[in-house]
Amino acid sequence: MTESLRVAQPLLQVKNLRKHFPIQKGFRRRVIGYVRAVDDVSLFINEGETLGLVGESGCGKTTAARCVLRAYSPTSGEMLFQTAGGEVVDLARLSRQQLRPLRPQIQMIFQDPYGSLNPRMPIFDIVGEPLLVNGMKDRSTRVERVTELLKLVGLRPEYMQRFPHAFSGGQRQRIGIARALALNPRLVVADEPVSALDVSVQAQILNLLLDLQRELHLTYLFIAHNLSVVQHICDRVAVMYVGKIAEIATAQELYDTPRHPYTAALMAAVPVPDPRHRAGDVELKGEVPSPANPPSGCYFHPRCPHAVDLCRTQTPALQEISPGHFVSCHRADELKLRGVI
C-alpha cells in the first residue's frame, strides 16, 4: 500500500531541509556558531493524510513546520509542494512575492488560542481577513462565507461581531480553525493545536479536526508532544530528536513496533492514565542536548541504553527498514524494542 502511495507525487515532499540560526556575539555581531534547529530533515505528506511530527522541546518540530509555511526561510533543502493546479513548486526557493499566490493553499492552526487572534478585531474581521486580502472585496459575500465557516467549526454565526475576549480558549481555537479554512487550503499545519486547552475541551477540538478532514479532504501536518493525541489523530508519525528525524512510520506500526530506541523511550515515558499500569524502571537518563552543541555521532547515543562504539562516531542515515518505515539507527535491525499497543 505504501509503495503505491509513493508512486504518486506526494502533496509535500521535504528533502534535506536545514535551518540553522546563527549565534552572534559582540558589537559587530560576529557569528560564533549555529543552532542547528532543523538538521537534514526529509519527509513527505500524501494528500488527505495526517502526518504527526513529535518530539520534545528543542527537537526542531516547530522550526520545521515554520519552514514549510515559509515563516522562516530554510538554510538549505527542498520543499516540493504540489499546487492545486497540479504543478510542483519548490517552496524553499520562492520569493515573498512569488509566495503570496500560494499562501492560501498552506494554512496554519496555532497553539496559543490567545496570542493567535488579534484582540482588537471582531471575529468577522479575523475570519474574513484572508478572504478580503485575497480578493473578496464585497462585504455581503464575505459575511456569507464567514457565516458558513463559523457554522462549519461549530460556532454561532450571530457572534461574528464579538471580540475574541468574549470567547473561551476552545472557542477561540475554533475561530482560529475557521480562519485557517477560509481559503480552502490543501495543507493545514497544526502546531500543538490542543496542548494549551483544558482536558475537557481538547477532545472537542480533536473531533472537530477529524470531522473537518473527512468533510473537506484536508491534509494535516500535526505537530505535538503528546503521543496519545498524535496516535489518535495521525496516519503516519515522524519522531524528531535534536533537529533530525529519528523514525517515520505509520502510527500503527510505530506504536506497535518502534525501531528507534528513542521512540521506544519516549513512548514508555508517557504517563498512562491508569493506576494499574504504573511505569516500571525503564527510563531515559540525562536530558535532550542543545541543538547548538549536539553530541558526536548519533545525537542520541549519550542517553541510549543500546549504544555501541559505532554510535559515538558515525551519524546514522535515515534508511527504509521496511516499506514505509524509516529509521536512523545503526542497530535498528538487531534491536527488539517494545511498543505500547
Binding site: I106, F110, N118, R120, E129, V133, A166, G176, R179
Partner: protein
C-alpha cells in the same frame, strides 16, 4: 460537616451572575471601550482628567477667563496683593471683592496696600470688559468674571506684578503658551518617535542599527546644556512667535528618543506575535500588517507615553524661560511669569508672584496621573 452545611444553603453563588445584557455589552466592546472602562476606575486619573479639561479650556479661551488686558501696565498699581471674591453678602447672592487702598510708606517709599473690607466692589459673571478675539475668529468683550462697571474698577484675583499688570490674566495667557508648547512638542516627538521606532522595530537590520545609535547619541547628551546652546543660538531679534515655534521644535528634537525606543520594543515583540504571522499567512501586505495589526496595538501605548511626556516638556519650557533662554517677554508663559519671582526680595514682599509655580505643579501632576491611568488601562487584555 462541610458538605452538610453547604447542602443547607440554597445556593452557593453569591456573585450575582452577570445578566446576559452585561455580557453582551462586554462581548461587543472594542479595544477603546475596554480601555475607557478600565481608565474610568482610576479615580485620581479621572479627577486629573477634569483638571486638564479646565486647563485646556483656558488654553482655548484665555482672555475669557482673564479679567483684564494682561499687557496693560499701571505703575500706580504695582504689587497689589490677592483679592478674595466673596460670593454672598449675608445670605444673598452678591459677588464682590473688597477694595484696596494704597498708601506710600514714607520710610521705604513703597506702596503698601491694605484691604478695605467695608468698601466692596460688586463683580458679576459674564461681565463686559476689554475687547479680545476668540480663536482669531470673532471679537467679544464678555469675560467669565468682571466688575459690574465695565472695567473702571479692576479686580486682581491673583494680585499684580511690579508693573501693575494683573497676574491672573497674565497667568491665563501663560497657561495657553506653556500648555501649547507641551502639546505641539509632544505631537512632533510622537510623529518622529513613531516613524523612527516603527522603522527600527519592524524592518530591523541596518536601519535599526543606525536609528538605535542616533537614539543612544541623543540620550547620552546632557539635555540642559544642549537646550541652552540651541536656544542661545536663536537670533535675539526674532519675534516672540518665531521663538515659540523654535523652542517647541528644539524640545521635540530631543524628546522623541524615549518614545522611539519604547515603540521599537513593542514592534519587535509584536513581530513575534502569532496573530501577525497569521496575517502574513493570510496573504496580507506589509502595509496592511503595519496599519491594521501593529499600529492599533500600539496606539494606546503611544497615547499613554506621550501623556507622560507632556509634563516633562512643560517643565523644560518653564525652566528655559525662567532662565531667560526660552520664551521671552513680551510673550507670556509660566516660565516668563516665574521670572518675576526670581529674587528673594520680591518673593518676600509679593509672595503671590509664586502662584504660577503652583499651576506648573498642578498641570504636571495631572498629566502624570492621567498618563499613569492610561498606561495601566492601555492593555485591557493583560489578564
Amino acid at each position: 460537616m462541610a458538605g452538610d452545611l453547604r447542602a443547607e444553603e440554597p445556593a452557593v453563588s453569591a456573585v450575582s451572575p452577570p445578566t446576559s445584557e452585561a455580557e453582551e455589552r462586554v462581548s461587543l466592546a472594542s479595544n477603546w471601550k475596554l480601555v475607557w472602562w478600565r481608565f474610568r476606575k482610576h479615580r485620581l486619573a479621572m479627577a486629573s482628567c477634569a483638571v486638564l479639561i479646565v486647563f485646556y479650556a483656558v488654553v482655548l479661551f484665555p482672555d475669557f477667563f482673564g479679567t483684564q488686558d494682561p499687557e496693560a501696565t499701571a505703575a500706580s498699581q504695582a504689587f497689589i496683593p490677592v483679592q478674595h471674591v466673596a460670593f454672598f453678602d449675608g445670605l444673598r447672592w452678591r459677588p464682590s471683592v473688597p477694595a484696596v487702598a494704597g498708601k506710600r510708606n514714607p520710610v521705604t517709599l513703597r506702596m503698601e496696600w491694605t484691604v478695605d473690607e467695608t468698601q466692596r466692589i460688586p463683580v458679576q459673571f459674564f461681565a463686559r470688559g476689554f475687547r479680545y478675539t476668540v480663536l482669531g475668529i470673532f471679537e467679544t468683550d464678555i469675560h467669565l468674571l468682571g466688575t459690574r462697571d465695565g472695567g473702571q474698577n479692576r479686580v486682581f484675583l491673583l494680585g499684580t506684578d511690579r508693573l501693575g499688570r494683573d497676574q491672573w490674566s497674565r497667568l491665563m495667557r501663560g497657561t495657553r503658551t506653556s500648555m501649547t508648547v507641551g502639546l505641539i512638542a509632544v505631537t512632533l516627538s510622537v510623529i518622529l518617535g513613531a516613524v523612527m521606532g516603527g522603522v527600527s522595530g519592524y524592518f530591523g537590520g541596518w536601519a535599526d542599527l543606525a536609528i538605535q545609535r542616533i537614539v543612544e547619541l541623543l540620550q547620552s547628551l546632557p539635555t540642559i546644556p544642549i537646550w541652552l546652546a540651541m536656544t542661545a543660538a536663536l537670533p535675539q531679534d526674532w519675534p516672540p512667535q518665531k521663538v515659540f515655534f523654535a523652542i517647541t521644535i528644539i524640545l521635540a528634537l530631543i524628546g522623541w528618543t524615549t518614545l522611539a525606543r519604547e515603540l521599537r520594543g513593542r514592534f519587535l515583540s509584536l513581530r513575534e506575535e502569532d496573530f501577525i504571522l497569521a496575517a502574513e499567512l493570510a496573504g496580507c501586505s506589509r502595509a496592511r500588517i503595519i496599519m491594521r495589526h501593529m499600529l492599533p496595538a500600539v496606539t494606546s501605548h503611544i497615547i499613554a507615553t506621550s501623556t507622560l511626556a507632556i509634563p516633562v516638556l512643560i517643565v523644560s519650557e518653564t525652566s528655559l524661560s525662567y532662565l531667560g533662554l526660552g520664551i521671552r517677554p513680551p510673550a507670556i508663559s509660566w516660565g516668563v511669569l516665574l521670572q518675576e519671582a526670581q529674587n528673594i526680595q520680591t518673593v518676600a514682599n509679593a509672595p503671590w508672584l509664586l502662584i504660577p509655580g503652583l499651576f506648573v505643579i498642578i498641570a504636571v501632576l495631572a498629566f502624570n496621573l492621567v498618563g499613569d491611568g492610561l498606561r495601566d488601562a492601555a492593555d485591557p487584555y493583560g489578564h
